[in-house]
C-alpha cells in the first residue's frame, strides 16, 4: 500500500483506537445525509410505484371511452380482442348513485362489470376480503371496505339505491321506489379513495339503473407486459377506433397525480442534498483543522522524503474514506429504518401524541417502499464525490506548505 494511503487510514483509525473523534463525527455526518436521502427517495418511489401498480390493477392499462353512451361497442370489442398486444377486454358502465342503509346515505361511484369478463382485466377476486365472487348476481353488490364501514352495512345487509334516472321519473310524478340489493361481500384495493367510495354491481344492473339499454360507458383493456400503454393507445385510436371513441392510457388519466408524486421526490431530494453538502463542509473543516494541527508533522513527512502531491493524496483519500464509510453505514441505516418503518412511525406517533394521518393524501394505508438501484448509485456517487472534493482544499493547503516553515510553525 502506498505510504500516503497508509498514512490517511492511520489518521482516521489510529493505532490502539477504533476511530479518531474527528473521523467518527465526519462519518456520522455523511451517514445521516445518505440515510435520509435513501429513505426519502425509497418512500417516494414506494408512493409512486404503489399508485402506479394500483391504478393499472383497478383501472386496466387502457380505457376506451366516449362522451356519449357507446351502443356499437360489440364491433370494437371483437376488434380489440383480436389485437395481438391485447390480453383481455371488458366493458363497463359507471356513474354516481345514492346508496342508503338505515337512513344513512352515501353517494358512491357504482361500477357495473361483467365479473367473468372483467376478471381477466381487473382481478376483482384478488381484492375481495369478505364474500365470494361466485355468488355475484343481479341481486347482489360488493362494497368497498371504507364505504361499508361508513354506511355500517356488512355482508348480508340490504341496501337501497337511488339513481339519477329515478329523479327524472319523480319529475313526472311517478312513485319513487328505490332498488334493493344485498351486500354479497367487501373488497379492498389498497386505495382508500377507491375503497371508501366504490360499489360494484353487474353490468346488467348498472345498465338498468342508468337506462343504458345495451349501451356501455366504455371498455377496459389489459395489455401484454412490456407494451407501452401511451403509445399503444394512440395506435388504437388511429387504426381501430372510430372518431368519438378515445383510448386513454392509465398514465394519461392519472398524469397530474403521478407528476406531483415525481416532482415531490425531486424537490425533497434536492432539499436533502444540502444535508450532504453541510456534512461535506464539516469534513472540509475537520480536515483543514487536521492540516493546521499537524503542520509540523506534514513538514516532517516532507523531510523524510514525501512529495507534496503525496501529502495532498493523503488528505484527499481521507475525504474519500469518510465518504465511502459514511455512505455504506448510511445505506445500512436507511435499510434498517425502512425495514422497521411501521414500529418507528407508531413510536413517533405516540411520542408526539399525534396520529400520522398524511397517508390518505397519497391514497395508501401504510408507508410503501420501493428500492431503485439508480437511486443508490446516484446517492453513493454523490456522497463519495462530495466528500472527496471536501478533502481537496485541505489537501492543497498541505501540499503548499514549505517543509522548513512547517517544521518551524508553532
Amino acid at each position: 500500500m502506498p505510504w500516503y494511503l497508509y498514512h490517511a487510514l492511520k489518521q482516521l483509525f489510529p493505532s490502539g483506537r477504533f476511530f479518531s473523534f474527528f473521523s467518527l463525527v465526519s462519518i456520522v455526518g455523511v451517514m445521516l445525509g445518505v440515510c435520509v436521502l435513501i429513505i426519502v427517495q425509497s418512500v417516494m418511489n414506494g408512493f409512486g410505484e404503489n399508485i402506479r401498480s394500483r391504478i393499472v390493477e383497478t383501472e386496466g392499462d387502457i380505457r376506451i371511452r366516449s362522451n356519449e353512451v357507446i351502443y356499437d361497442w360489440e364491433e370494437y370489442f371483437g376488434k380489440l380482442q383480436a389485437k395481438e398486444n391485447v390480453v383481455a377486454v371488458s366493458k363497463y358502465a359507471e356513474g354516481i348513485i345514492m346508496l342508503q342503509y338505515k337512513n344513512r346515505p352515501q353517494f358512491p361511484v357504482v361500477r357495473g362489470i361483467d365479473p367473468w369478463e372483467d376478471e381477466q382485466v381487473v382481478p376483482l377476486e384478488k381484492f375481495i376480503t369478505v364474500g365470494n365472487i361466485e355468488q355475484f348476481d343481479d341481486e347482489g353488490i360488493f362494497l368497498g371496505e371504507g364505504l361499508a364501514h361508513t354506511l355500517g352495512a356488512g355482508p348480508g345487509a340490504i341496501v337501497e339505491v337511488f339513481t339519477p334516472l329515478m329523479l327524472e321519473r319523480l319529475k313526472k310524478d311517478e312513485i319513487l321506489l328505490p332498488r334493493e340489493f344485498k351486500v354479497l361481500g367487501l373488497f379492498r384495493t389498497g386505495s382508500p379513495a377507491v375503497d371508501g367510495n366504490t360499489m360494484i354491481s353487474t353490468l346488467r344492473v348498472m345498465q338498468e339503473l342508468y337506462g343504458l339499454e345495451d349501451g356501455v360507458h366504455g371498455m377496459v383493456l389489459r395489455l401484454r407486459p412490456g407494451v407501452e400503454a401511451f403509445q399503444y393507445a394512440r395506435e388504437l385510436e388511429r387504426d381501430v377506433l372510430r372518431p368519438g371513441l378515445q383510448a386513454v392510457s392509465w398514465l394519461e388519466s392519472n398524469r397530474d397525480f403521478l407528476f406531483v408524486v415525481e416532482q415531490e421526490k425531486r424537490v425533497i431530494s434536492f432539499i436533502l442534498i444540502f444535508i450532504i453538502l453541510v456534512a461535506s463542509f464539516s469534513i472540509a473543516i475537520a480536515l483543514m483543522m487536521a492540516v493546521i494541527r499537524k503542520t509540523r508533522e506534514i513538514g516532517l513527512l516532507v523531510a523524510m522524503g514525501a512529495r507534496p502531491r503525496q501529502v495532498a493524496y493523503s488528505f484527499c483519500f481521507q475525504g474519500f474514506v469518510i465518504g465511502t464509510l459514511g455512505t455504506v453505514f448510511g445505506i445500512l441505516m436507511a435499510l434498517l429504518c425502512l425495514r422497521y418503518r411501521l414500529p418507528i412511525l407508531t413510536g413517533y406517533g405516540k411520542l408526539t401524541q399525534n396520529e400520522v394521518n398524511f397517508l390518505g393524501v397519497y391514497d395508501v394505508y401504510e408507508i410503501p417502499v420501493h428500492y431503485l438501484a439508480s437511486d443508490f448509485i446516484t446517492v453513493t456517487c454523490f456522497a463519495i464525490g462530495i466528500s472527496t472534493l471536501a478533502g481537496l482544499l485541505p489537501a492543497f493547503r498541505a501540499a503548499r506548505l514549505k517543509p522548513a516553515d512547517a517544521l518551524r510553525s508553532e
Binding site: 505510504w3 497508509y6 498514512h7 492511520k10 489518521q11 489510529p14 493505532s15 490502539g16 479518531s20 509540523r296 508533522e297 513538514g299 516532517l300 513527512l301 516532507v302 523531510a303 523524510m304 522524503g305 514525501a306 512529495r307 507534496p308 502531491r309 503525496q310 514549505k402 517543509p403 522548513a404 517544521l407 518551524r408
Partner: protein
Amino acid sequence: MSEPLIQAKRLTKSFLSGGKEISVLDGVDFSLAPGTSCSIRGESGSGKSTLLNVLSGLETVGEGELYWSGKKVSGLSLSALAAERAARIGFVFQAYYLAPELNSLENVLLAARIHRRIDSSVTDRAVQLLEKVGMGHRIKHSSTKLSGGERQRVAVARALINDPPVLLADEPTGNLDEATGEAVMELLLEMTADADKSLVLVTHNPIHAARTETQHMLHLGKLGQSVI
C-alpha cells in the same frame, strides 16, 4: 579521497521581514566527509536551523552551490529534493515529531514506507533498531504514551531506518533534562559511529558539541571553526 556527502559553496540565504531583506547565511562553505561528525553552534537566531534546512534541501538555496555526494542539488525543486533526501539524510529534531496516531514501530516504519515499499526484512530491521536504542520493550506503545527521552530514542531509530549516510540532528537534547539528554547524545554518537554514518549536530551545548570531530560556530551568517 572520497567525495563529501554534503558540500556547500558560498551559500547565501535571506528572508524578507517587514519589507526588509535579512541575510541569515552569507557565503557559507561547508563540507561533510563520510563517517565524520561535526557540530554547529551559535547564538539563538543565528541561523543554525536555517543552515541545517538548506543543507538538507528543506529550504531552497539563495545563492551558491550545494552538492550531495558530488551531485549538484541547488536549483532543484522541493519535490525533486524530497525524493533525493529520503535515501541520503535522516533527521532527528528537538521536538521529536512522532505521529501520535502510530505506535513506536509504525513511526519508525513510516520513514521506510515513504522511501520504499516495506517487507518483513524492513520490519525486522525496525525492531532491531528499536531494541538497539533501548525501546525494544515499547514497540507497540502509542507514541503519545512515551516519555520525552523515549520519544527521542524512537526518533533516532526512525532516522536510521533507511540507512542514510548522513544524520542531521537539530538540538536533539533541547527538550530533555540533563541526564536524559546525555543518554540520548551518547546513543546518537554511538549509533552513528557503529554504522559509520556522518553526523551534523546543531546544538547550544558546548559539551555535546565537543564530542564531535569538527566544531563550527555560526556568527553573523558566517561559518567558522569553533574553539571550545
